[in-house]
Assembly symmetry: C2
Homo-oligomer: 169 residues x 2
DNA sequence: CAGCATACGTCAGCCTTGTTGACATTCCAA
DNA sequence: TTGGAATGTCAACAAGGCTGACGTATGCTG
């Protein structure tokens, strides 16, 4: 795997960007950047009785209102018990509404209430502000590359979910 | 914050890449990609008594052999109690060696043992393989942009740590 | 030298968030 | 009508964060 000989020429194109050193830089960049990525919402959530898991649930419910629990489960990649614990508090606190499905009454469709929307706004405003600053600093071409690499890094399932959300649910 | 009017022209340059929609895509890309980023090492660690925290410790000890506990603390951004719990198991399992400092005897310098190196290799091989595939798929320009955006997304402290590691400790 | 600061380890207790396993309910569909 | 799917819930547990408190060894400074 780690042969250290990636700095070869293949098909006439230099592969210097695939050296172990370059890859390590990419790994550490992901690690440090993800910390920044979650820092602002975490700070806000820390003041309440909520955590990152609540943020994620609220984000994706806002993103796809009326989504079912199973749907959310697949996107978040956690067990129903884990998600349920989070949803229970959000529902009892009046941030999320759970409506029984009309066509399939087994399903629950999830929606944000007024206060749920307000929390989502507060959290995503903070996260977007950082993302906006980073995007502006780096410029449009860098942003395109950023998205391209991240998309290539996803598992196939996650890539499908990502694209579906991106291109309109 | 979220004014939806980011699609304006500023200084003669289109800022279409700074719309809320673009920012949201970036946020979701980070979320889904980070899952992929940690998936392979997590799978390996799941078979042992170790977790992601052990991976991080081992990674940075390998990266900067002889680093002190305080140093590692700053990089990882956790409390000494949290780190100590991880280090204790790694040391007692013989993956990490802790040597009393020569110039300052209060400090402990951390090194990977043979088996520590072996684990680190196994984990980072898996992680590098995915990163390599993503880099290759996306191409050199995309990789440059990827790193640029991630660097801009970091907190100032983390950016300093990242650059220090990148440009040689 | 005395006293304060620093580096580290450790104990105890708490929280969030993930896991598995078991079981009840409801309801669609074959 | 019966099996399976979707959901909810209880219990127990583990990882890995956190705070607070305390102890020890060492280094620095007045």
């Amino acid at each position: 795997m780690s042969d250290g000989r990636a700095a070869q020429v293949y098909g006439g194109e230099s592969l210097l960007f695939l050296t172990d050193e370059q890859l390590r830089q990419g790994i550490e960049a992901m690690f440090f950047a993800y910390r920044g990525f979650t820092a602002d919402p975490d700070r806000i959530l820390g003041k309440m009785a909520y955590g990152r898991a609540h943020h994620r649930a609220v984000h994706f419910i806002n993103r796809a209102p009326g989504t079912t629990v199973n749907n959310l489960l697949a996107i978040l990649g956690v067990t129903k018990q884990s998600l349920n614990r989070v949803l229970r508090t959000l529902i009892s606190d009046g941030l999320v509404e759970s409506r029984v499905g009309t066509v399939d009454k087994r399903e629950r469709h999830l929606f944000l209430t007024e206060s749920g929307l307000k929390l989502e706004q507060e959290l995503s405003d903070a996260q977007r502000a950082r993302m906006r600053a980073a995007f502006r600093d780096a410029g449009p071409e860098a942003v395109a590359g950023f998205k391209q690499v991240l998309e290539a890094m996803m598992d196939a399932d996650m890539r499908r979910a990502y694209i579906k959300l991106r291109d309109g649910a």
